[in-house]
């Protein structure tokens, strides 16, 4: 994770376009100014950032399924459950499944585990639209390269 850049996942480790699933890994940094406030003397990964981690993983799945022609924006978070504390240095396994590919929107079910133990899960809704400008697409492609996004993968798996 590069929290200062709001990059919550380190790498995509599996992408199954036909099964419409994705798996990513993320290591919580051992040090961050965020932990100075959350919480003083008891550093915990904020739950909202865990939700964002699930959203980013889901988002890359939506990007892949749309062959990098569309950009998902988080629109709704339902049934979010933060099941246990996450501490600095923990390695997280993030999975998401596209449960519905609507017209201009998408829904996913996302989960985070650590050492096989459930950390959190949620149902996420995204508005899916054309990239607002070429610069954003360019930067998203640059980020994709950083996290092992499999560029060139066929849209139909």
């Amino acid at each position: 994770m590069r929290l200062e850049y709001f990059q919550l996942i380190d790498r995509i480790v599996e992408l199954d376009l036909s099964g419409r699933t994705i798996k990513a890994e993320a290591t919580v940094p051992t040090a961050s100014t965020i932990f100075e406030g959350h919480f003083p003397g008891y550093p915990l990964m904020p739950g909202v950032l865990l939700i964002e981690t699930m959203a980013q993983t889901s988002g890359w799945l939506v990007v892949a399924i749309n062959n990098f022609t569309r950009m998902p924006f988080l629109a709704a978070v339902k049934d979010a459950k933060l099941r246990t504390f996450v501490t600095p240095g923990q390695v997280l396994s993030v999975t998401a499944e596209l449960t519905h590919d609507g017209s201009g929107y998408a829904m996913t079910e996302a989960h985070i585990k650590a050492n096989g133990k459930a950390i959190c899960d949620a149902t996420l809704t995204f508005s899916v639209m054309a990239f607002p400008n070429p610069e954003m697409e360019k930067r998203m492609r640059a980020t994709a390269a950083l996290i092992n996004f499999p560029t060139g993968a066929p849209a139909n798996g």
């Binding site: 629109a75 519905h100 609507g102 201009g104 929107y105 829904m107 809704t125």
Partner: protein, 93 residues
């Protein structure tokens, strides 16, 4: 077997917590029922699932934005029901 309108009205009532009796075939989802775009995504999702279709929301929105259609054509519920019936028929054709 309930009608398309009844199915839609039940979905709207449940999704948006709107009294079922206030939802009429002449109701405009946005102007009369006050459903916003985010709530409509939930409704679209439920409709897609219930009827096994994919409501072409992007196409409809584009047509409205381009002045080629009015929101009444797609969001007055009796008209929405007719559009859904067409999509279901096209799927089975």
């Amino acid at each position: 077997m309930s009608s398309t309108f009844d199915t839609i009205a039940n979905i709207i009532a449940e999704t948006c917590d709107i009294p079922r009796e206030s939802i009429k075939p002449e109701s405009h989802a946005i102007n009369d029922l006050g459903i916003d775009s985010l709530d409509f995504l939930d409704i679209a999702f439920a409709i897609d699932k219930a009827f096994g279709i994919k409501l072409p929301l992007e196409q409809w929105t584009q047509e409205v934005n381009d002045g080629k259609a009015t929101t009444d054509q797609y969001f007055v519920l009796k008209n929405l029901s007719a559009r859904i019936d067409e999509l279901v028929a096209a799927k089975g054709a």
